[in-house]
């Protein structure tokens, strides 16, 4: 497995500050994707994203783990949890998209290289509902779901970040998926006709 981040981290540790730019860019999508869905606010997400990197940079010398993204997610997890505790009760889930741009992830599923046009149209309709359904999940379940889906982290890492057993992390994912399937039942039914 290729780990380009190791090269950038080594270069930064040697004193080459420019190596941070590709490092930040490489992990921008999964990290930002996780944070924006945990904080439910673009402004908060940008703040947390910046703070995650500032902390990571400050403690780069103490980073000795295998999975850099997992380390970033752990920092993000701590920041998000702190923020959620401060902001209780959580605001209601917006029905409108998080951003006003046309680059919403739900609008762009599935991959155009593999999906048939009718499936694309069907999933485009499902997209916003997936987002709302994910936002309705309890915090711990949502976090497991996003760490798996956005960060592609293994359950072993997720369990470590959440300080629970692997079985608990698996159970949270199972609950999350069951709820999403229940919420999106009609959407899946629409899609089932065009499943290959």
């Amino acid at each position: 497995m290729d780990h380009p981040e190791r090269k950038w981290i080594a270069e930064y540790r040697k004193g080459k500050v420019e190596a941070l730019a590709p490092l930040v860019e490489h992990f921008r999508r999964p990290l930002y994707g996780f944070i924006v869905r945990m904080t439910e606010s673009v402004t908060d997400a940008e703040d947390v994203f910046q703070e995650v990197w500032l902390r990571a940079i400050r403690h780069m010398d103490s980073y000795h783990e295998k999975n850099f993204l997992s380390w970033l997610f752990r920092i993000a997890h701590n920041l998000v949890i702190d923020r959620v505790r401060r902001q209780k009760p959580v605001v209601s889930f917006p029905e409108t998209p998080f951003t006003t741009t046309s680059t919403r992830w739900e609008d762009r599923i599935p991959d155009t290289r593999t999906a048939a046009p009718d499936r694309q149209i069907a999933m485009r309709d499902v997209g916003p509902r997936i987002k709302v359904a994910v936002a309705k999940l309890p915090l711990e379940q949502r976090e497991v779901f996003l760490m798996r889906m956005e960060g592609d982290l293994p359950f072993k890492e997720i369990a470590r970040i959440q300080k629970v057993s692997i079985n608990t992390a698996l159970a949270r994912m199972q609950y999350a998926l069951n709820k999403l399937r229940q919420d999106l039942k009609s959407d899946y039914a629409d899609l089932s006709g065009i499943r290959t």
């Binding site: 999508r29 400050r58 199972q174 998926l177």
Partner: protein
């Protein structure tokens, strides 16, 4: 295999954490269970949606701030490293003196001896006086030897005079 266990294994397999022998059992179960097949399809569909998630726009200002923070961290690290090296240097000396008392005692004795030697009063003057006496003694001894060698010309009174001078000088 029951459906609940199969679904947990589907999650494990998707994360690449399912051992091979369980995988074959899972696939046998799925071949006969439409509900678990659908569960897996739904999971893959959601994963597909997540992997095409939005790429947030690059914020150049934020990036510049991160690079500046990175530079500050590197600078602080350099200062810390220098301080540590200086500290280590002194610590090494401290350990040497602490762990080797004999060396410490020897150093102290040497310093004491040097101090005593430096504060000794008029050492140079005494040395000059002693040198003068020695030269005088040598001169008188040479004269006495010469008189003894040439006893025919020398009177006993001369020899006794020189000998008494020599005793006075030595005394």
């Amino acid at each position: 295999m029951k459906c609940n266990e199969a679904q947990l294994n589907i999650l494990r397999e998707h994360a690449g954490e399912l051992v091979p022998w369980r995988r074959s059992t899972l696939h046998r179960h799925m071949a006969a269970c439409a509900a678990c097949r659908n569960y897996r399809t739904d999971l893959l569909q959601l994963a597909e949606a997540a992997h095409t998630a939005e790429q947030p726009p690059v914020d150049h200002f934020a990036m510049r701030m991160l690079l500046e923070a990175g530079q500050r961290t590197l600078d602080r690290r350099a200062v810390r490293s220098l301080g540590k090296r200086v500290g280590d240097f002194f610590k090494t000396w401290e350990n040497t003196l602490t762990l080797r008392p004999a060396l410490a005692v020897a150093t102290a004795v040497l310093l004491l001896a040097i101090g005593v030697w430096l504060v000794r009063p008029h050492a140079g003057g005494n040395m000059a006086w002693n040198d003068g006496v020695d030269q005088q003694i040598e001169k008188l001894e040479a004269s006495l030897a010469s008189l003894e060698a040439d006893s025919s010309r020398a009177s006993s009174a001369d020899a006794e005079s020189i000998a008494s001078q020599l005793l006075n000088v030595e005394g």
